[in-house]
């Protein structure tokens, strides 16, 4: 049975989705437990697969027993196992945090919500696990369609329009990717990643292969929100319901980064990309521009959700730049940052969700007295903010260390400068929020506050526990990032480099 585990990771949420769509009519209350079971199963098998991969190397699984290049193959190595774990963990913690708000805001759409939620998770897991180029496209589109629906369920004034914009851009992105796959198929005759990888060195001089790479790359960049192809990101995450954006924002863009890494390492190969193409310098400059642009645009925002969205744009620049630096440190930093950024973005969105639940809006000037009325949520905000700035021992510092070191080693001074600048700008952003909440907006001395009782108007416990778990994760993963890098990430990179 154990050899089927890779398939189970994807199948559990998928089956749960189908069961849920049935329960939508039968008994809505069962939808949530089924979702938890589906994701929990995925998590369990993901852990098993991770241990197996760490012990005995990459797992290869042929769906229905048909061998590649005809059959579809699932391939789980260190990187996939790592990313496969993040998805169910975040999805599960999000369910815990969102139960109340789903129940209150989307009461009648609960069933469909959980169904699409599971489909999103299943699609994402498939994207990570698959080793077939076309299968990747299909699963990518499953994920995207689920996300279009999830994101449109929010604010009825603006969410559908924002989501429609996202549909158009997402289709362009996925279609570019498909076009790239088409050219690859013409040149190599295969859709299996490992197969293409072995055929490509023989034909690497051809311009069709380069076009294929560029199309795939640009398509993935659109989907991950790399500046300047990021325009769909802020609106979509701002107007979506928090339960959706909390799931999608940390995961979608990071998994797209994973896809880019997978394409670079396992399909085209690092030799081809760094030696034959002359894109490296330009991509690093583009990433630096993305970092600075994201940070500066975040600074210009008055609404916390939009600020968070632009911070995501900035972080994508970190990861893309780190990979394209071309040295082990930079790549290790980028991969570690996939994990770290998922967690800290999730923590940030949990905090924002709590604020919305209690105060109904997240504008900067509406945060008066929030430190006294929501101390635990604000503690979470400070911790997530410290991670975004890059203060040890939070996890954000450790990936920043590797990225900076990689930049110094590669002599990419613009990249190093943009990393430091964005850290400083993040400090300004975080402390601006702290100031808005800590200091009263009038001129009254804070001692007046003693006169009235400190009103504790905190989010419910079901929303605080996930925040606590995630905050503990930020510190724990930071302190033990050494192990993650040493045992999981570095072996993967060494394989790709050799």
């Amino acid at each position: 049975m154990t050899e089927h585990y890779p398939a189970f990771i994807i199948l559990f949420p998928l089956l749960a989705a189908f069961i849920n769509s049935g329960f939508t009519w039968l008994d809505k209350r069962l939808c949530c437990p089924v979702t938890v079971l589906g994701l929990g199963g995925s998590l369990y098998f993901g852990l098993e697969v991770l241990f197996q991969v760490l012990k005995s190397g990459p797992i290869v699984y042929h769906l229905a027993g048909w061998p590649p290049p005809m059959g579809i193959e699932l391939r789980i190595d260190n990187l996939s196992a790592l990313v496969l774990l993040i998805i169910p963990v975040i999805a599960l913690i999000n369910i815990m945090a969102s139960r109340k708000s789903i129940h209150d805001e989307l009461t009648f759409k609960r069933g469909p919500f959980y169904t699409i939620y599971l489909l999103f998770a299943a699609g994402l897991l498939g994207v990570v696990a698959t080793a077939d180029l076309f299968n990747l496209y299909v699963l990518l589109e499953i994920t995207s369609l689920a996300s279009y629906a999830l994101l449109a369920m929010g604010n009825p004034d603006r969410a559908p329009l924002a989501s429609l914009n996202y549909v158009f851009l997402g289709v362009i992105g996925a279609s570019f990717y498909l076009l790239g796959v088409g050219y690859l198929y013409i040149m190599t005759g295969s859709l299996n990643m490992a197969d293409v990888h072995s055929i490509l060195p023989g034909i690497s001089g051809s311009s069709a292969v380069m076009v294929a790479f560029v199309f795939c790359l640009v398509g993935i960049w659109i989907k991950m929100g790399l500046f300047p192809l990021h325009t769909w990101l802020p609106n979509v995450y701002t107007y979506a319901p928090t339960s959706s954006s909390r799931l999608i924002a940390p995961l979608m863009t990071k998994v797209m980064v994973y896809v880019m890494i997978r394409l670079m390492f396992s399909v085209f190969g690092l030799d081809y990309i760094f030696e034959q193409l002359t894109l490296q310098k330009w991509v690093v400059i583009l990433s630096s521009a993305a970092i600075i642009a994201g940070a500066v645009m975040a600074l210009a925002q008055k609404d916390l959700m939009k600020m968070a969205a632009y911070i995501i744009v900035c972080e994508i620049g970190y990861m893309v730049g780190g990979i394209w630096l071309g040295n082990t440190q930079g790549m290790a930093g980028a991969v570690l940052h996939i994990v770290n950024d998922a967690i800290m973005t999730f923590a940030l969105f949990l905090v924002l969700g709590n604020i919305i639940y209690v105060r109904k809006k997240t504008e900067l000037n509406s945060l008066d007295g929030i430190f006294t009325s929501m101390p635990w949520t604000m503690a979470g905000l400070v911790l997530a903010g410290a991670s975004i700035i890059g203060i040890p021992p939070t996890c954000g510092f450790f990936s920043k260390w590797y990225l900076l070191l990689g930049g110094i080693e590669a002599g990419a001074s613009l990249f190093v400068f943009s990393l430091i600048l964005s850290s400083l700008i993040s400090a300004i952003l975080v402390f601006r929020i702290v100031e808005a909440g800590f200091f009263p907006s009038g001129d009254n001395h804070a001692q007046d506050h003693d006169a009235k009782e400190a009103v504790l108007n905190e989010a419910p416990v079901s929303m605080l526990i996930p925040l606590g778990l995630t905050s503990a994760g930020i510190i724990a993963i930071g302190l033990w990032s050494g192990y993650i890098v040493q045992y999981i990430i570095l072996p993967f990179i060494q394989q790709g480099v050799s």
Partner: protein
């Protein structure tokens, strides 16, 4: 010059899909009406489907269905070059399904937008959204 013309004429399938793709892209970006944008998106995706299908073509080959594939002719050797490549067709069946699903989701979103704002022109929408 004649060589170039010959090249262009020989690769006419690629030119066709590129032109279709550009039309679709133009419609998505430049048109004001949401439905027209949607049609543009569809044309864009269809162009790529066309590209894939055209790549499976072989000269003097027939459709990839083996006549009398069961029974005593089952063990006859098959000349691959006599049949056009079926794989792109199969892939594109999946892609067409994806296209249709995306179309469905987009249409659902457009219906929601219309219910809210009573218009599908983008500039009017932008104005009304700002007023909210």
């Amino acid at each position: 010059m004649p060589d170039l013309m010959l090249e262009i004429i020989n690769k006419y399938n690629y030119w066709l899909y590129i032109i279709l793709m550009m039309i679709g892209l133009y419609a998505m970006i430049a048109k004001n009406n949401l439905i027209k944008k949607l049609v543009g998106m569809n044309i864009f995706q269809t162009a790529i489907i066309l590209f894939f299908i055209s790549m499976g073509y072989k000269e003097n080959a027939t459709i990839p269905i083996i006549m009398g594939g069961h029974g005593d002719t089952a063990h006859k050797t098959i000349e691959a070059s006599q049949y056009i490549n079926p794989l792109p067709h199969v892939l594109m069946l999946t892609a067409i399904v994806v296209t249709v699903a995306t179309l469905g989701v987009a249409l659902a979103l457009i219906i929601k937008i219309y219910q809210r704002y009573e218009t599908l022109e983008e500039d009017e929408l932008r104005m009304r959204v700002k007023q909210k």
